[in-house]
Symmetry: C2
Subunit: 131 residues, 2 copies
């Protein structure tokens, strides 16, 4: 939603429960998961409504989408570890030659039982030519 649009939201039982569920879990659900959970309460619920409400909750700033980005896959032949700069306006992706930070990886490894193999960093912003 563009910033200048002042959309008027109403409430709905479905959306309230969706937010409740999202706040009560740490499983980073998919739309399908929410749909399955809510079908018990709202037998006639449709997936379209789940997607529409997720979109509204994001507009309201109450929910975030993980794994967003462009809707299609992108590929690169640079197989060495490196980070990315992503322009929020034009969608272009740039390699970022920031030295890969070993401290981060070490720091992270000390703080989890996860067997970390690698990490990715993406910086989002506006590229020079879009400004």
């Amino acid at each position: 939603m563009a910033i200048q649009e002042k959309k008027k939201f109403r409430t709905s039982k479905q959306r309230n429960r969706m937010l409740q569920l999202l706040r009560a879990t740490d499983s980073h659900p998919t739309a399908e998961w929410l749909y399955e959970k809510l079908k018990m309460e709202f037998p006639r619920l449709s997936l379209g409504t789940v997607y529409r409400n997720l979109s509204l909750l994001i507009d309201m700033g109450l929910v975030k989408k993980i794994h967003f980005g462009s809707s299609f896959d992108r590929f690169e032949a640079n197989t060495a570890p490196h980070y990315h700069l992503i322009c929020e306006r034009c969608g272009k992706i740039f390699d970022f030659d920031l030295p890969v930070d070993k401290d981060i990886l070490e720091h992270a490894k000390q703080r989890t039982t996860f067997a970390i193999r690698y990490h990715k960093i993406e910086f989002y912003g506006i590229c020079e030519s879009c400004r």
Copy 2:
């Protein structure tokens, strides 16, 4: 492709050119972009072939897919900045309470003309219960 499968690859003009194109660009192409470029040389090329070859090139370790992850979107109600741990085996995503690193952002800002607004870090590995 599972590690134990020893797949035998043959060469093909289409795949060779795809790799050349990927290596010659820094635009992080989509499958469609490759398809359009290659249609001049291979008028009967199909998108299916492009996808299949991308998959093979990834198996060969010559190409990486950006923006990979699960095939469907995931959502969370934790709107505060935080990082994620992602299990490569079970696919689960965990919030990582690593303190968000201001140094990284400052360091990055000094090295680019990008107007960086925020960044994301994801750590990939194997979670405790999958080991």
